[in-house]
């Protein structure tokens, strides 16, 4: 049958053991909000502030696909890309170039998002043990995608319900040149092959 997936992110808990797994379909639209707190709520609380001479950050978000309907054989070749747009001057959505481990039996790559609520999140390359480099997500387009998230299930493929991709880790940086207010949605996409 045709595979189906939920878009999920983990939050809370402790490193390697998330407290909650959130299906974004239950939140919106909009269904993901980058904020200065480690919760899934779509609200006006804990925005990323604009502060002269500083860059403030959202808490990082660890997003993955979870299989809810198994494919006939397998799904693989996952790639991430955007519409190449962006949230405007002074705002950068970063995505990690590494994919911390997440599968149906382990969340060993999970790191609790940290920072100061209402002020800033801790920078992900310096503070997430599974992230060593990042790129501007909006530099990743259909013609130049990020080759991942990878899969750490058996045979590096998804072929059963509850199997997942590894984490895609995102963080929003806000410089003092940004304009305040809620930003329009931008298109983020994961492409994969199924047989």
């Amino acid at each position: 049958m045709v595979a189906t997936f939920n878009v999920m992110f983990d939050y809370g808990g402790s490193d390697g053991s998330p407290g909650n797994s959130q299906n974004v379909d239950g939140l919106g639209p909009p269904n993901i909000r980058f904020k200065t707190n480690d919760n899934p709520t779509i609200d006006e609380n804990d925005p990323v502030p604009i502060v002269t001479g500083q860059t403030k950050r959202s808490y990082w978000k660890q997003i993955y696909l979870k299989c809810t309907g198994a494919p006939s054989v397998k799904c693989n070749n996952f790639k991430f890309y955007t519409d190449g747009g962006g949230f405007g001057t002074g705002i950068t959505l970063n995505v990690a170039e590494q994919f911390p481990t997440k599968n149906h039996g382990s969340s060993s790559g999970y790191e609790v998002a940290t920072g100061t609520p209402g002020d800033t999140g801790d920078e992900m390359v310096a503070n997430h043990a599974g992230v060593t480099s990042k790129v501007d997500a909006f530099g990743k387009t259909q013609g130049s995608p990020l080759n991942g998230p990878s899969v750490s299930e058996d045979s590096n493929q998804i072929d059963a319900v509850d199997e997942t991709t590894n984490y895609l880790v995102f963080q929003l940086d806000v410089a003092d040149t940004a304009q305040p207010g809620n930003k329009d949605d931008e298109d983020l996409t994961i492409q994969y092959d199924e047989i």
């Binding site: 049958m1 269904n31 006939s72 259909q142 013609g143 949605d185 983020l188 994969y192 199924e194 047989i195």
Partner: protein, 132 residues
């Protein structure tokens, strides 16, 4: 869209049996394959003719939208084609069938166009040969 594999002796294997059960892409007997048909409803939309040297390639390529105006929806392209090793050169014919019914035909995968980028070949799909 569904597929049907037709063999040299006229028998065939459909993706779905009359009882609703499903046959797998990996169930296809490649050594006897003469045609691979993509159906849109009851009508054949694309027929791939094959011989012993041509190895079938098939994928359902899905673009799942996480965020934005299309969040929660997916776009699907069906890839069906073949590749063969022709005197040491890898030759491919790749058909990409879009949801609106139009078909784009390429002679190779293109990394700079995401929908047309490489698949991860299954062992039985590989033929070798120098890439053009």
């Amino acid at each position: 869209m569904e597929w049907k594999a037709v063999y040299d002796d006229g028998t065939s294997l459909s993706q779905f049996n009359e009882d609703g059960s499903e046959n797998k892409y990996t169930d296809i007997k490649r050594g006897q394959l003469s045609r691979f048909i993509i159906y849109h409803g009851a009508l054949p939309l694309l027929i791939i003719h094959l011989d012993r040297d041509k190895q079938l390639i098939y994928r359902r390529r899905v673009a799942m939208h996480l965020l934005g105006s299309k969040a929660g929806s997916s776009d699907v392209v069906i890839l069906a084609g073949w590749q063969e090793n022709r005197r040491g050169v890898n030759v491919q014919c790749l058909c990409f069938v879009f949801e609106d019914g139009h078909v784009e035909v390429l002679d190779r995968f293109y990394e700079d166009v995401g929908l047309f980028s490489h698949v991860k070949f299954e062992p039985e799909e590989k033929v070798g040969g120098q890439q053009r």
